[in-house]
C-alpha cells in the first residue's frame, strides 16, 4: 500500500508541475510551487519510511520550514516589486 501512496504522490507532483508551467497568472504559479513543496515533504516522509532513508524525518521537518519561508518570500517581494512594473499584464 505504501508503494501505491508513493506512486500517487509522484503523479501528484507531475500534475502540480504542469500547473506551475501553465500559469496562467503568477498567483497560480506561486500556488502550484507551494503545493509542490508540501507534496515533496509528504514524499520524503512516505518514501523515507518505505525505503529506509536515514534520518528522513529531520529533512522533512526542514523542508516544511523552508517551504514556508520561501513562499512568504515570494509573496513579499512580489508585492514590493509590483508598483514599479505597473504596465505589465498580471
Amino acid at each position: 500500500m505504501i508503494a501505491a501512496a508513493i506512486v500517487a504522490l509522484l503523479i501528484t507532483l507531475a500534475l502540480t508541475l504542469i500547473r506551475a508551467f501553465l500559469g496562467p497568472n503568477i498567483y497560480d504559479q506561486i500556488l502550484a510551487v507551494n503545493s509542490f513543496g508540501t507534496k515533496t515533504v509528504l514524499l520524503i516522509v512516505v518514501g523515507g519510511h518505505a525505503l529506509g532513508w536515514f534520518s528522513y524525518v529531520d529533512i522533512a521537518l526542514m523542508y516544511a520550514m523552508v517551504n514556508f519561508v520561501g513562499t512568504l518570500a515570494v509573496m513579499r517581494f512580489f508585492e514590493q516589486y509590483k508598483p514599479q512594473g505597473e504596465n505589465n499584464d498580471y
Binding site: A3, I6, V7, L10, L13, A14, L17, A20, F21, I26, Q29, I30, V33, F36, G37, T40, L43, I44, G47, G48, A50, L51, W53, F54, S55, Y56, D58, I59, L61, M62, Y63, M65, V66, N67, F68, V69, G70, L72, A73, V74, R76, F77, F78, E79, Q80, Y81, Q84, G85, N88
Partner: protein, 323 residues
C-alpha cells in the same frame, strides 16, 4: 521491490528536473524562473536523499531551496523581473551545446555502472576514512568526521571563502538601511502564526548544529537555518524590526569571529607541537580531543555561515544610497 521503487523515484525526479529547467528556459518572467529554480533545488535535494547523501540533501534544501531563492528574489526587486522580449535563440549556441553534450555522452560510456561497488572511486581512501573514523574519532557520521577532522584544511579554506564572499557583497552593495515605506502590510494571521514558528526554526537550528556528529547536520546547515529564522522575521514583521533584533553592524564581526574560532583551534594544536588542526592535542585523550575539536570547528563554521548569510540578506533587502 524496494530497488524498483528507488529506481522509479530516481528516474521520475530526474525527469522533473529536465522539465523544470526546460520551463525555466522558456519563460520570460524572471520571477517565475526564480521560483522554478527554487523547486529545482527541492527536487535535487530529494534526489540526493534517494542517492544516500543525507548531509548533502540537508545542505541543498537549506541553502539551495531556501536561501538562494530568497536572495534571487530580493535581487529581482532591485533590478526588475522581465527579460527583454527579443530573447534570442542562438543557433550557434545550440550547436556548441549539442556538440559538447555529445562529447560528454561519448565520454560517459566508459564509466562504471551506477552503484557498482567495485568502481575505482570506492577502492581507494574512502574505506580508510570509514575505518579510521570508527577507530580514531568515534563519531557515527563519517561525513562530519571527514569534513571537520581529516579534511579540516579544506573546510577552513571554504569558511574563509564564504567570509570573503560576504565581504565582497558588503563592498559592492553596502549594508543598506531599512526604509519605512517598504514595510510589509499588517497581517494579523501571519503575525500570530510566524511568532512561534520562528522559535521552532531557531531550536531546530541548534539541534542541527549539535546533532551533526550523530546524524545529518553540522555547522553549514545550522548557520543557514538559524539565519532563515531571522530572515522570516524580517519578511513578516519588517526590515527595521529585524535590524533592531540583530543589528547589521555586528554581523561582519561575528563572521570574522567564526573564522577566528576555526583558526585558533588549529593554532592551539600547532602550539603544542602537533600539526595544524590536529585535534589530538586538545585533550589528554585523543578521542575526546577529536570530539572537542570537531565541536569547536563546527561552532566556528556555524557562526561564520550564519552571520554571512544574514549579512548578505540585509545587503540585498535594505535600501542603499550610494552617494
Amino acid at each position: 521491490m524496494i530497488e524498483n521503487l528507488e529506481l522509479l523515484i530516481d528516474v521520475c525526479l530526474l525527469t522533473f528536473l529536465l522539465l523544470i529547467v526546460f520551463a525555466a528556459i522558456k519563460t520570460t518572467n524572471l520571477f517565475v524562473a526564480t521560483m522554478l529554480f527554487g523547486i529545482f533545488s527541492f527536487v535535487t535535494a530529494l534526489l540526493f536523499l534517494d542517492l544516500d547523501a543525507v548531509d548533502v540533501a540537508f545542505t541543498e534544501a537549506a541553502v539551495g531551496a531556501g536561501f538562494t531563492t530568497v536572495l534571487m528574489l530580493s535581487a529581482l526587486r532591485l533590478t526588475g523581473a522581465f527579460e527583454n522580449v527579443k530573447h534570442r535563440h542562438s543557433v550557434l549556441g545550440l550547436f556548441i551545446v549539442v556538440l559538447t553534450g555529445a562529447a560528454l555522452i561519448y565520454g560517459v560510456a566508459d564509466f562504471p555502472n551506477m552503484g557498482d561497488a567495485n568502481a575505482p572511486v570506492h577502492l581507494h581512501i574512502a574505506p580508510e576514512y570509514i575505518q579510521l573514523t570508527q577507530e580514531k574519532i568515534d563519531i557515527p557520521n563519517v561525513v562530519t568526521a571527514v569534513l571537520a577532522s581529516f579534511r579540516g584544511y579544506d573546510t577552513f579554506g571554504e569558511t574563509v571563502v564564504i567570509f570573503s564572499a560576504g565581504a565582497a557583497v558588503l563592498l559592492l552593495l553596502g549594508m543598506g538601511h531599512a526604509e519605512p515605506k517598504h514595510e510589509p502590510e499588517q497581517n494579523l494571521v501571519l503575525w500570530v502564526v510566524v511568532k512561534p514558528f520562528i522559535a521552532l526554526i531557531l531550536i531546530f537550528g541548534l539541534y542541527v548544529q549539535f546533532h551533526g556528529d550523530f546524524g545529518a547536520g553540522g555547522g553549514f546547515q545550522a548557520g543557514v537555518i538559524f539565519a532563515s529564522g531571522f530572515i522570516l522575521y524580517s519578511l513578516v514583521f519588517g526590515e527595521s524590526y529585524a535590524r533592531q533584533v540583530v543589528p547589521a553592524s555586528i554581523l561582519p564581526r561575528f563572521a570574522a569571529l567564526g573564522v577566528i574560532i576555526y583558526g585558533l583551534t588549529g593554532l592551539v594544536s600547532l602550539l603544542s607541537d602537533k600539526t595544524f588542526l590536529d585535534y589530538n592535542a586538545l585533550s589528554s585523550n585523543p578521542v575526546s580531543g577529536q570530539h572537542l575539536g570537531i565541536l569547536l570547528v563546527e561552532a566556528g563554521v556555524g557562526l561564520a555561515v550564519f552571520s554571512t548569510v544574514l549579512l548578505i540578506f540585509y545587503s540585498f533587502s535594505g535600501v542603499n544610497h550610494n552617494e
